[in-house]
Amino acid sequence: MTTELSNHLTEEALNDALIGLGSAESETHLAACAACRAKVEEFRSDMKVFNDTTLAWSEARPVTGLQGAARPKAHLPVFAPVGWALAAVVLLMICVSVWNHGQRSASHEGFTSVAAPEDSETQIAQDNELLRQVDVALNTGEASPIDEYQLVDRQHPRLKVRKGLRNR
């Protein structure tokens, strides 16, 4: 496979040589043939440029998160106080809200007790006296039309019939 009609290595033999699996015969030919050696050197040169460039590009990429992932506990002291502080603030807000609500409820209950005090005997007596005075004032006013026209004892004949029917 080392030589063809043109006395140069075939593409397959060149590829074998590049891969590192070339035969001894191919290596001998490469050592002697400048044209075949140039092909091999050209590819190696292209790959060297590619490897150097891409490695430089990789080295320039910023390192992100490796330390954090490798030592997750190392970040705890930094973030823990912030988290605890936030939790404390939230807890404080809840406590203040609950306390305020309790205060409002207490003041509301006090207002109710003032507005509606428990009834005492004296108060009941006063109320009854007031109601009696109102009743007297109303009764001592103008005469009722029933009294004025003496309609108290007169009954409609139909009512008598009905009364008789009921009594039956």
Partner: protein, 204 residues
Amino acid sequence: MGTTAATACLMDTFSSATIESCLSERVRPISELDDIDALARTYRARLLRFATYSTGDPDLAETIAQDVLLRAYNGRESFRGECSVNTWLTGIAIHVIRDHQRSNRYKFWKRVKSAAIDVQDVAAFIPADGSSPERQLLAKEKVKHLTQILETLSHNQRTVFLMRFSEDMAASDISKVLGMSESTVRTHLHRALKAVRSQLGASV
């Protein structure tokens, strides 16, 4: 220790049974794996490059590189020193990338993926080696074109190509890490190399 045991240890890094087996057969004291900062300083860029060009997504590659370093650090007792640390890490990266490919998270990333490789951005990192501006421009175009060619390869072809020509791994190590036969690895390498060389040659 036989080759089979070595392969099993490399392929199944996180199996407790394998770790115990590796521990009992460990022949080399570990040192650089004990310091995750040193591990990241030395290998993160290479892992990031491999993951970026393997997945085509730089943002996902950041996550993968970080995941690989953490897994390597946590499972460092399983490393027996029979291969280079870089090969061992690349093997872990293969597993992590497969996990991402299988998971729904990766599907989500595929759906909303907006962070493709920015070839202009990558090409801007051409090393200033004192060459002429014309050569710098030509090198920049080569890098851009090679990046685009790699995206056209199948996942397996791209992976073996990167492992061989970027990570400088031997075909035998690639076959162990990927769990493929060496002939399959050679087939993928040949196809990938043929595509890359033909397209690179066509562009010149």
